[in-house]
């Protein structure tokens, strides 16, 4: 029976590859948008404007304090009540962007706050604008602090894409669910699903370990 199911699994393997492709798309589009949003929010959060800092703080706390699956439901089922009707794929991307940017925001703000005030002042005193101080002086130094946890966060984000299966996006986990109905060998099916996630995550885990060692100096 095992052998029969295994050959069935091989038969529908292209279906898994499609799921993997969807997962990869969601993951990498999300990493990109989360990084950009996360840096913008993180820079503002480490800045001087108290109102903006507070607002971002509330946003971050909300995201960190609620399960991602609930956030996905809010985007997909509750936004339509306010007239924002999104299809599953864009809804998944939006939910990922909201969640990921909050975590990256904290990492970036932490990195910027680790840079001494003297570095900003040295830049200020020599006439650099605020943006130049950030770009030329502060961010390059903060990257040492930011990079290792950032790449670690990327791995988490990739795995979190599995949650958007709940709104019907045909990504890897969803493919697993659909398949296991026809091939009732849960261990086999979800081992394959797990292995495919691992294929995307593992290089990043290696990168994260490498960066942690490099930046530790």
């Amino acid at each position: 029976m095992m052998a029969f199911y295994f050959s069935r699994l091989v038969e529908i393997f292209p279906f898994f590859l499609k799921g993997l492709w969807m997962t990869t798309q969601i993951a990498f589009i999300s990493l990109f948008t989360c990084t950009i949003l996360g840096f913008i929010l993180g820079i503002l959060r480490s800045g001087k404007n108290k109102i903006i800092k507070r607002l971002i703080g509330v946003y971050v706390s909300f995201v960190r304090g609620t399960p991602f699956v609930v956030q996905v439901f809010i985007v997909f089922f509750i936004l339509p009540e306010w007239g924002i009707q999104l299809k599953a794929f864009p809804a998944a991307l939006l939910a990922m962007a909201i969640m990921g940017s909050a975590f990256i925001c904290e990492i970036v703000a932490g990195g910027i706050n680790a840079i001494s005030k003297g570095q900003w002042e040295a830049g200020t005193a020599s006439g650099l604008t605020l943006i130049q101080q950030l770009r030329l002086v502060v961010i390059p130094q903060a990257m040492k602090v930011i990079l290792p946890p950032l790449v670690g966060q990327y791995v988490l984000l990739i795995k979190d894409t599995s949650v958007v299966s709940v709104i019907g996006v045909m990504e890897l986990t969803r493919v697993g669910w659909v398949t296991v109905v026809r091939i009732p060998e849960g261990l086999m099916v979800f081992s394959l699903v797990g292995a495919l996630y691992f294929v995307i995550s593992y290089p990043l885990i290696l990168l994260s370990n490498y960066l942690e060692r490099r930046m530790a100096v």
Binding site: Q119, E121, A122, A125, S126, G127, L128, Q132, L136, Q141
Partner: protein, 242 residues
């Protein structure tokens, strides 16, 4: 060149600058001393608006520093500032440290900025350290790089905030030598320091502060040998015996 008119500043309830009136001429070398917490660092930090003030006016080379319309980038480009803790950029080489502002503020070409940077490094005696990173240098060398970094913008004024206080004793001399050398070039300078030897040698005027007020000013020999106020006398005897 630098003019303070009834300047007042508070940190919360603390009155750090109390009705400061001061005129500094072009080419003048002013040494500011006083006990810690007397407001001397705050005073020079207001000159390039690293600190805001609440009352009064500071005018640098005809420009009202704390006016909203003032182009701060341009103002600061003309004022070099040397910090107690150097604050070199640790991720850049010495040469890149010195070139950064000329390239990004004055929009000089990299080649022109490098030429100036190397010239200034020669002036502070560190020609051979251009490719080094700050962490590879001694404190005295780092502070000389910081001075070169300030000079690279061809400033009209140089401000020094306790430039030798963070240095080991044997490195103080090399930094003071560079500063003395600047004086001979006619640079307008405000120096917060307790280095009496330096003050006696090159200062045109010594200004003594306590509790945010200017207590006494005078020529260095007059001030150190014959202070007019009790507080200044007390302070001088303390730095002499220490």
């Amino acid at each position: 060149m630098i003019e303070f008119k009834h300047v007042n500043k508070w940190f919360g309830k603390l009155h750090v600058l109390d009705d400061i009136n001061l005129d500094i001429d072009p080419g003048e070398v002013l040494v500011i001393c006083g006990p810690s917490g007397s407001g001397k660092s705050t005073l020079i930090r207001c000159i390039n608006r690293l600190e805001p003030i609440q009352e009064g006016e500071i005018i640098v080379d005809g420009v009202p520093v704390h006016d909203k319309k003032t182009n701060l980038t341009k103002l600061r480009a003309d004022i070099g500032f040397v910090f107690q803790q150097f604050h070199l950029y640790p991720h850049m080489t010495v040469l890149q440290n010195v070139m950064l502002a000329p390239v990004n503020v004055k929009k000089m070409s990299a080649a022109a900025a490098e030429e100036i940077a190397r010239e200034k490094l020669t002036q502070v005696g560190l020609t051979d350290k251009a490719g080094a990173y700050p962490i590879q240098l001694s404190g005295g060398q780092q502070q000389r790089v910081a001075i070169a970094r300030g000079l690279a913008m061809s400033p009209k004024i140089m401000l020094f905030d306790e430039p030798t206080s963070a240095l080991d004793p044997e490195m103080i001399g090399e930094v003071l030598d560079v500063m003395v050398n600047l004086v001979s070039e006619g640079m307008t300078m405000c120096v917060v320091t307790h280095e009496m030897g330096f003050a006696r040698k090159v200062a045109d005027r010594v200004l003594f502060m306590d509790f945010g007020k200017i207590i006494e000013t005078g020529r260095p020999d007059e001030f150190f040998d014959n202070p007019q106020t009790h507080r200044a006398a007390d302070f001088i005897s303390k730095i002499l015996t220490h």
